[in-house]
C-alpha cells in the first residue's frame, strides 16, 4: 500500500467502488512489485518444494478390479487363471462346472496366494534351496525359450558331434577281481601296513608268474572285496563300484593283467583284469538322438551364460577381502 492511498479523501468526493479500488490496487505497478511477485514466489516455491517432499498415499483397493475374481492382500487372482485352474481340476469346460466346485477352486487359489505371500514374507527365496532352484530354473527356461524355436540342421548336429566325439562312445566293459588284504583291524591286529604292502607285492609277483588266484588269496590272506564280484560290468558301473582311486587303475589294465598293490583306507588292493572290452567311438547315426539332446542342452547353457553375463554387467558385486571368484 502506498502513502498516497492512505491519504483520506473528502467524503463528498465520488469514491470508486470496492471492486474498482481492489482492481486498481492490483494493477498498480508498485503493488505488483511489492506483493504480487513475492507472493507468486512463495506460492510457487511451496508448490515445488511440496512436490519434492510429499506424494499421494497409495490407497488400498477396496473393490476387486475388473478382470480379477479375487483380491488377496491387494494381490489379484486373474479370472483367466481361475478358469484355467477350474478346468484343469475338473477336466471339463468351465461352463460345465458347478458353483460348488468353482467355490472350492477359488478357495484353493486364495489359500495358495496366501501361502505364496507368506513365503515372500518369510523370505524363502533367501533361505530355502528348493525355492531358489525353482526361481533360477524359471529364469533359465525363459531365456532359453527363443533359442529353442529354431531346429538345428543336420550339419549343425554333425559339427557338434565332431566337436564332442570323445563323449559319444559305446561303453566299455570289464570283468575283474578286486583282492584286498586288510590290516590293522581287530581281526588283523598283527598285520601292519608295511607288512601288508610287502605281502601284496609278493602276491602280485606270484600272480604275474601264473599262480592261481585262489591259491594266492589263501596263501597271503587276501579276500575278495565284493565290489565287482558279479561278473561283467559296464565301465560306468565299475567306476561307481571301485571308487575314484581304484577305477583309473582298472581302466589301465588289459585282459589278463594284474595291477600293482594299491593302498586305500580299507586295505591293500590288487586288481586282476579277467576280461576287458575298451570303449569305442559310436557312429553319428547311432547317437544322433543323444547328440540332439546334448545340442539343445548346450544351447540352453549358452543362453543362461549370456543372460548371466548381462546380469553381471548390470550388477554391483562386492567381494570381501581375501575372496575371489
Amino acid at each position: 500500500m502506498t502513502d498516497a492511498t492512505l491519504v483520506k479523501q473528502p467524503r463528498a468526493a465520488a469514491r470508486p467502488g470496492r471492486f474498482a479500488r481492489l482492481r486498481r490496487r492490483l494493477l498498480d505497478e508498485r503493488t505488483r512489485l511489492e506483493w504480487m511477485l513475492p507472493a507468486g514466489g512463495i506460492i510457487i516455491g511451496l508448490a515445488v518444494a511440496g512436490a519434492g517432499l510429499f506424494r499421494p498415499a497409495a490407497r488400498p483397493t477396496i473393490a476387486v478390479p475388473p478382470g480379477y475374481v479375487a483380491l488377496v492382500n491387494q494381490k489379484g487372482i486373474l479370472t483367466s487363471d481361475f478358469i484355467a485352474q477350474t478346468q484343469a481340476e475338473t477336466g471339463v469346460g468351465f461352463n460345465q462346472t458347478t458353483q460348488a466346485k468353482r467355490r472350492h477352486v477359488l478357495r484353493e487359489m486364495i489359500d495358495e496366494e496366501l501361502l505364496v505371500q507368506r513365503a515372500l514374507s518369510l523370505d524363502l527365496p533367501e533361505t530355502t534351496t528348493e525355492v531358489r532352484d525353482a526361481m533360477a530354473a524359471a529364469v533359465n527356461a525363459q531365456v532359453a525359450a527363443p533359442l529353442l524355436e529354431i531346429e538345428p540342421t543336420d550339419e549343425e548336429l554333425r559339427t557338434f558331434y565332431d566337436r564332442h566325439r570323445a563323449k559319444y562312445t559305446i561303453g566299455g566293459t570289464m570283468t575283474l577281481r578286486d583282492l584286498v588284504m586288510h590290516y590293522g583291524t581287530y581281526a588283523d591286529a598283527d598285520q601292519s601296513l608295511p607288512q601288508a604292502e610287502s605281502d601284496a607285492a609278493e602276491a602280485v609277483y606270484q600272480l604275474r608268474s601264473g599262480a592261481a588266484i585262489d591259491y594266492v588269496m589263501e596263501h597271503f590272506g587276501f579276500v575278495d572285496s565284493g565290489r565287482v564280484s558279479d561278473g561283467e560290468e559296464l565301465d560306468f558301473a565299475a567306476k561307481i563300484h571301485l571308487g575314484a582311486k581304484l577305477y583309473p587303475v582298472a581302466t589301465a589294465l588289459n585282459a589278463g593283467q594284474i595291477s600293482d598293490p594299491v593302498v586305500t583306507a580299507d586295505g591293500v588292493h590288487v586288481l586282476v583284469m579277467l576280461q576287458r572290452q575298451l570303449p569305442r567311438p559310436a557312429p553319428f547315426s547311432a547317437v544322433r538322438d543323444q547328440v540332439y539332446s546334448d545340442f539343445r542342452a548346450e544351447q540352453k547353457q549358452r543362453a543362461s551364460e549370456e543372460n548371466l553375463r548381462i546380469l553381471r554387467s548390470q550388477a554391483q558385486i562386492l567381494l570381501a577381502p581375501g575372496q575371489s571368484e
Binding site: 478390479p65 475388473p66 478382470g67 486373474l78 479370472t79 483367466s80 487363471d81 478358469i83 484355467a84 469346460g93 468351465f94 461352463n95 524359471a138 527356461a141 525363459q142 531365456v143 532359453a144 525359450a145 527363443p146 529353442l148 524355436e149 529354431i150 531346429e151 538345428p152 540342421t153 543336420d154 548336429l157 547315426s285 547311432a286 544322433r288 538322438d289 540332439y292
Partner: protein, 246 residues
Amino acid sequence: MLLAAGGAALAGIRHAQRQRLATQLLASFPDAVLAHPSLVRFAVAEARPLFKANCAVCHGENMHGNTAIGAPNLTDQVWLYGDGTVYDIERTILYGVRTGLSKTRNVTDMPGYGLRGRLTSGQIDDVVQYLLKLNDRPHRAEAAEEGRALYYGLANCGDCHGSDARGDSDYGSPDLTVNVWNSGGDPQSLYRSIYFGRHRIMPAWVGKLTFEQIRALAVYVYSESHPSPSRETNASTSQTASPSRS
C-alpha cells in the same frame, strides 16, 4: 469459449463412456462379452490398432498367418490350442506358447524324426504320402500305406495326433485331417516338419499389454474368425461356446 466448453464436455463424456465399456469388458467372463454387441464393437475398435502394432508382424494384417515362420491363420476356426473361445484365445495371448513361463502353452513338441535318426528319409516320405491321403490330396497309394503303418507303428504319431489323426487341442497337437498347416502343407514342407520337428513359440503378452488390451485382442481375433451372425446366439447359450471345427 462455448465451443471449447462444448468440446471439453464431449471429450469428457466420450472418456467416461470408454471407461465404462473398458470396465465391462474386463468384468465379464471372457466369452460372456460376445453376448453384448456394444462390448464387441468396443473391443474390436480398441484391438485393431493393437493387433496391427503387435501381432500383424507374424500373423499378417489380415490374420492369415505366415507359414514361413509357423504363424497360424487366425481366421480359419482351426485352433492349435483350445477350442477357439475368447477364453482360449486370451489364455494364449496372456502366456504365449513355449515361452518358458509355467502357465504357457507347452505340453507337446513335434520331434525331429529325421534329425534324431528315428525315421529314415524314405520313411518320412511315406508318412508324408499318408498325410496327403488323409486330406484327399494326390498321393502315392503304396507309399501312403507304408506311411500309415509307420504312423501307428514305429513313429507312434497317434500318441499325440490321435488314432483318428484329428489331433488334440488340449495338448497343441494339430488336426492332420483338415488340410490346415501352420508351417506349410506342400509335401516338401511336410517332409521338413517331420524331419526337423517344430518348436514354434509365441511371446507372452502379460506385462507387455494391459489385461484390457489382451481381452480386447482376444475378442477381436474371435470376431474375425467367426464372421457368422450366429455368433451372438452361441455366446448367449454357452459361456464358453465352442466353434465348430472345419
